[in-house]
Structures are given as C-alpha cells and as structure tokens.
C-alpha cells in the first residue's frame, strides 16, 4: 500500500481521512504551520477554530460524546499543548476518546529550551491514556493509526501525538495501518462465560436487586444501551444511573430511580443502601457515588461489569467481577437469563418496589415554589417542558446548576447529556456545546451554565458566532459560585470567602458585543417567553436568568456520610452537623 513520498503533514492528513475524521478542533501556531498548510490544501476535513486550546479539547469531547466517534484536536507546541492539559485530564477522567495532535519544536532543538518548547509527552503522560513523540518519519503513519485504535478501544481515553515541525516537513511514505493488531495492547471485550453465569445465578436469587449503571454503557454505544434497557425491563429490577450514565436508561421509565450519589435521588440512594444484589454496569464506584465507603450498601453482594480490570476492586470490593465490553456482557447475560427462563422472586420484588415507592413518595426534589423570584429548579423544569418534544442535547458547566440539571432534566437516550463528571471542570459546557452543535447542526443544544463557570471559557461565544453554531447558553445567575457557597454555609460557618461573583458583566450586552443574541429573565412571568424566544432564535443566544440567590442544592449526602444519612433540605441541614472526618473530604 506504499505510495509516492509525501510530506509528513500530508501523511497525517491522509491518516486522519482514512480514520474517517470529518472535523478537527484547533488553534494554529508556529510548530503546526506545515499541518495547517496541508489542511488548507484539502477539503475533506473541516477545521473549527476555537479561541483557546482548552476549549478545543472540550469541543472535541462534546463532539465525541454526542457521536461516539473519536474527537480530534490540533494545537501548537508549548502553550498550545499546556493549555490543552485540562481538557485532556477531563477526557481521561470521563473516558472520552480523543486524539490530540500537538506541534513540537524541530527534533534537533528538543531539550534546548527553544521558543515555545515544552516537554509535552512528559507533561501529558499522567493525563492521557497514551502519548507518542514521533521522532522518525517512518513511524508517522503507524503512530497516527495506532493512536486512534488506542483512543477508541477498551476503556476510551485521550491520546496525544507530539509532532516535531521537521517531521511534518520531511517526506516519507504513507501506509494505511488501520485495523492492525497491536503487539502489546489488546483489551478484553468478551467476558468470561463462568463469571457471567455466576452473575446471573446471583441475580436470580435477589430479593432487593438494583442496577447501578454508568458512563461505560454510553461508551459501549447506543446498541449496548438499548440492550441494557431491554434487559432491565426483562428483570423488572430498579435501575439507578450515575451522572455519566444519564440517558443510558430512559429517564422516564418507571423502573428508573434517576441519578444516585451526593446530589442523587433519595429513593436511589436508599435503594443503594438497602439492596441485597447490586449489578454495577460500567460505573466505577466514584466517591461522589459511594459516600462513606465502609457504610456503602453494607448488606449487598456486588456484581461489577467493567472493561477496565483496574476499575474492579479499586474503591469497593466486589463479589463477582466481569471484565468485558458492556454490550457483549449484556448480550450474554440476556441469553442465559432467557434460556434458563429465570423468574425472580416475585413476592420479594413486589415488597422491594413497595419500599422504593415509599422513598419516592418523599418527593426529594421538592422545593419551595415562588412567585417573587425565579427558582433555579423551576427554570430548568420550564426549559425541559419547552425542549422535550425536540431532539435536544444538554451540556453543563460545573456546580449547583449542573446538579440541578442532572436532577430536573430527563434523558431518554444516551449521548444527549455532556457534563464534566470526573474532573469537574468549570468552563466545560460552552465549548462542549459547540462541539455537539458541529456534530448535530439541526439539534437544539443548550449549555446549562452558572454565571461563574461561564466566565471561564466565555471567549468561545466568538467561535459560535463565526461558525453560526446556534448554541443556547442558559445561565442560572445567582451571583454566587453556588456550590462553593453551599459548602461554606454547610462546613465553614457561613464565611463566604471569595465566592461572590462580583463585577459581573451585563450578559445581554456581552452577547451583543460578540454578535450573538442576549435575553434576560428577571421575573417568573418572563421566563416562559424568554425560553420560547431562545429556542426560536436561529443563531447563538445567551439567556441570563436571574434566579434565587440563596437556593441550595438538595438532596445531599454530606461528605463522609452514608447513603441513609441524606439531607433533604435546609431544615435537615441544621439538624445534622458534619463530622470532622467529613470536613477534610472534598
């Protein structure tokens, strides 16, 4: 398959095309000029120019998460690469497949503290799934293809390819290595049959079972989520989702208990605490989910399905580990379940559901409605009502608004909810939304934001305007870093150290200055009209919703507490002081 020698930069572009890449998010600079020149001379790959390299990575994450494809980033050396680090870490924590091409100074200058030189492979080693420095033109085409394979297979993640400028300008042969088997990296996707049987045996005897599903289901693909949905319905077991797993099971299904964890549903957390058989599919026992590990689901036997063996027995010891891809595992589970015609203990299951419905009856998302001031929860409920009949995608920033969005918006399908779960990156939502909108030009894409988070990548409005990406930025503006303030209230005696959003811009004028549309809702009566106008506007819109400044996010498991020690609201908060042990946790 070898061909005439071509420039390294052209080899890279060819490899990207052969990998099916349609879009790159990037920002040019000295060390990637040959690559940008090669991009200029072709028209198969579209380049989206962001305004900051961090945003390029988040945009690629949004693109990847909403399509299931590998997101591609192109940045220059030095500051280009270091700016990308937050995004790469975010993608690593949330298992998002990315290939990030970074420029590097010419090979003969590496190590000389050259202009815009940084030790990119050294810096990104702990925040990527793998990285490469290409030092020979002969390794180039293999490396690019391998990077895509590593990024998308197994537990997905970000991969960096550091490309010295002279390599981009040297001529070499392009060879299509797509689909080649790797000599050491070959993740297991098909599960061990005996482990699956053991899991089914345990499930068949369950009296208080619970599915606990996470982002691994989304990563396995829409077909896996569909299969899982069928399987859950076949069993009649309740199903709770992690923040990353929202949409992997239909949120409106009666079997869904919604999100669990620190700000999860009362019924989901109590069910987790009291279950006797836990079926973890593609979730990783994150500390936001488990709370106090020693009191986590204390009477349960645990099944853990994960493609990454290192996720198993990391935080919580499990009884039946199943290593494999969720899609393959569920297929096998369903086959055995059907073949054996398993009928779970109907009486026990009925009693379990009765108990769950009692917890549900507590109506944990209840809040004090108001005619005076817009409650953030109410704003999200109205947004959901207006959006739900459409093909809508939601991204978020990080904080109270993110948790409220997770609580009050329901997702029926995977890949429609993009949020920074593991790293908790403020400034994720806007660039991620631009990536989602690039992939789904006709869809309604809303970034649910807080007024503090949105300031972290506000420059990206310019990207929206340039590419006519009609992203809607829905700011729940309470003039506080809400989650920081909530913790200061809870743990630090109400000393609100540096958490007030002072000197905020006028978001309506800001939108106009960028060439976007700005809208504001200050009164309850204005809200619906503003949401309607936002959705009907063709281009990008910033909506500044002035919400209740004092509202806190409940329910909540305080740090260091167990699932059955949830706080349901402000009244509970004063009744249950936080332990000293909990104070040191984040």
């Amino acid at each position: 398959m070898a061909s005439e020698p071509i420039l390294g930069a052209e080899i890279i572009v060819k490899a990207l095309i052969d990998q099916g890449v349609e879009v790159i998010f990037g920002y040019p600079g000295g060390a990637v000029l040959p690559l940008y020149d090669a991009l200029f001379k072709q028209n198969q790959i579209k380049h989206i120019l962001v305004r900051h390299e961090q945003a390029a990575v988040h945009a690629a994450e949004g693109y990847a998460r909403s399509t299931g494809k590998v997101g591609v980033v192109l940045v220059t050396s030095g500051p280009g690469a270091t700016n990308a680090v937050t995004g790469l870490t975010d993608a690593l924590m949330d298992s998002i497949p990315l290939v990030c091409l970074t420029g590097q100074v010419p090979t003969h200058l590496i190590g000389n503290d050259a202009f815009q030189e940084a030790d990119t492979t050294g810096i990104t080693r702990p925040c990527t799934k793998h990285n490469y420095l290409v030092k020979s033109i002969d390794d180039l085409s293999r490396t690019v293809h391998e990077a895509f394979h590593v990024a998308r297979s197994g537990r997905p993640g970000p991969v960096v390819i550091d490309l010295p400028k002279d390599i981009q300008q040297t001529k070499g042969e392009y060879v299509n290595h797509a689909g080649q088997r790797h000599r050491s990296y070959n993740p297991v996707v098909k599960p061990d049959r005996q482990q699956v049987e053991a899991a089914i045996n345990l499930m068949a005897t369950a009296k208080k079972p619970l599915f606990y599903i996470g982002g691994g289901v989304v990563n396995s693909g829409p077909a896996a989520a569909q299969l899982l949905t069928e399987f859950v319905r076949l069993t009649g077991f309740p199903c709770t989702q992690t923040l990353m797993g929202l949409g992997a099971f239909p949120g409106s299904d009666p079997l869904s208990l919604g999100m669990l964890g620190m700000h999860g549903m009362y019924e989901a957390n109590w069910a987790m605490h009291d279950c006797d058989v836990m079926i973890n599919i593609g979730a990783r026992f994150d500390d936001r989910v488990t709370g106090k590990v020693s009191a986590f689901a204390p009477n349960s036997k645990k099944i853990h399905v994960d493609i990454d063996p290192s996720s198993i027995n990391k935080n919580v010891r499990v009884d039946i580990p199943v290593v494999g891809d969720v899609g393959h595992v569920i297929e096998e589970m369903m086959r055995i379940w059907k073949a054996r015609q398993i009928r779970p203990d109907a009486k026990a299951l009925t009693a379990w559901w009765e108990q769950i419905n009692k917890w549900r009856a507590r109506d944990c998302l209840r809040y004090k409605a108001s005619n005076e001031v817009i409650k953030p929860q109410y704003a999200l409920q109205r947004l959901y009502e207006a959006a739900k009949s459409r093909d809508f995608y939601i991204t978020t920033e990080v904080g109270q608004h993110q948790m409220w969005a997770a609580q009050f918006l329901k997702f029926e399908k995977p890949n429609h909810w993009m949020t920074s779960g593991g790293l908790g990156t403020m400034g994720y939502g806007l660039p991620a939304a631009s990536g989602v909108q690039v992939a789904h030009p006709e869809a309604l894409v809303v970034d649910v934001a807080g007024e503090a988070s949105i300031m972290m990548n506000i420059q990206e409005i310019s990207t929206l305007v340039q590419y006519r990406l009609p992203v809607k930025i829905f700011i729940l503006n309470n003039r506080w870093m809400g989650m920081v303030r909530q913790w200061q209230e809870l743990l630090h005696g109400g000393r609100y150290s540096e958490s007030y959003s002072d000197a905020l811009p006028d978001f309506v004028k800001l939108a106009e200055a960028f060439g976007a549309k700005g809208l504001r809702a200050s009164k309850v009566s204005e809200l619906d009209g503003v949401i309607k106008e936002m959705i009907e506007t063709q281009g990008p819109v910033i909506v500044d919703v002035a919400v209740d400044e004092k509202e806190n996010c409940f329910p909540m498991i305080p740090s260091g507490a167990a699932h059955n020690e949830m706080l349901l609201g402000p009244e509970d908060q004063s009744a249950k002081p936080i332990s000293e042990e909990g104070m040191v946790l984040v």
Binding site: T121, G122, R125, K135, P309, S310, V316, R317
Partner: protein, 169 residues
C-alpha cells in the same frame, strides 16, 4: 478501602524498550501513591526490544492487585507477573561496599567478607571495595556488620528476580 496486612511483592514487568516507558511506570507509582522499595530495569531481548522491569513494592492485597491492573493498562506493557504470588522465585541483588580503615578493623572486615562470600574487587592501603550478591536480607546483614568497621559508601542494584522451575513468563 484498605483491607488486610501490608505485604511485600516482587513484580516483574515485560515492556517494549522505548523512550519514556520507565517514566510511565514510575509516574504510575508516584501518581497513585504506591511504594517503590526497589526498581531495576535493563533490556533483556535486543531483537524483540524487550526490557524487564523488576519492582519491589508493598501494600495491602487490594493495593497490590491495583498496582498490577494499573500496570497492565499501560500500552507498551506486554506482561505483568507477581513473582511473590505465583510460586517460588529467586531474588538477587548485587552490592559494592567501600570500607576504609586500618589495623584490626581492616582485618576483621576481610574476615567477615570471607564468611559472606564477598569478593574484594578493589584495594588500597587504607580501603577495600567488596562485591557481593545475595538476597536483600543477606546484603543488609553484611552492610550492618561493615558499619562499625569503616563503611563509607554503598552502591546496590536493587532486586532482580525470576521464577523457579522450567516455566518462562
């Protein structure tokens, strides 16, 4: 989360001999807070470009399991073997010990070296350099005895290990 007693394990890691692979392994240990008691690395197959890293680490059984699984996630790693767990194995270290002194102490250091089967590899009127291989415990004992006899410098390789029997990793 922490369950069980702290155990010491010797783990053998077969890797591609490529730039940065050692940094990946070391970075994994430091980044996740695992212990390294000793670490050795050298190419063992020049044709296949394999290097072998031997790590002596300690932790609870759950942590040891994590270490092995985390190592297996690294892309250029071919095989991870727990020599402590998988059956009988041999462990050896090599040290070079410099002892300075005269008179009775100098004679005594020679006598002890003889008992330990250490070899003199360098000598001046007032010093010896001893070379010795053995288990970590034996080496530690030797160093302990040399301390009062004028020990001034120690250089040791860290543990290399291999499983007993006919099976290869």
């Amino acid at each position: 989360m922490e369950q069980g007693q702290i155990e010491r394990h010797t783990i053998s890691v077969l890797v591609d001999n490529e730039a940065g692979v050692l940094a990946r392994v070391i970075g994994l240990f430091s980044g996740r807070g695992y212990n390294i008691e000793s670490l050795t690395v050298a190419e063992v197959d020049a044709e296949a470009h394999f290097s072998r890293i031997t790590v002596v680490t300690s932790g609870t059984p759950m942590i040891i399991e994590q270490i092995k699984n985390q190592l297996r996630r690294l892309v250029p790693i071919h095989r991870v073997t727990d020599l402590t767990q998988d059956g009988p194995s041999l462990e050896r270290e090599l040290i070079l010990v410099k002892v300075r002194g005269s008179g009775e102490k100098r004679v005594e250091s020679l006598r002890i070296a003889d008992i330990f089967r250490a070899r003199v590899v360098d000598s001046t009127i007032e010093s010896f350099v001893f070379e010795m291989t053995g288990s970590t415990e034996k080496l530690n004992a030797f160093i302990g005895l040399m301390q009062p006899l004028g020990l001034v410098e120690v250089s040791r390789t860290g543990v290399v290990a291999i499983a007993r029997g006919a099976e290869a990793i």
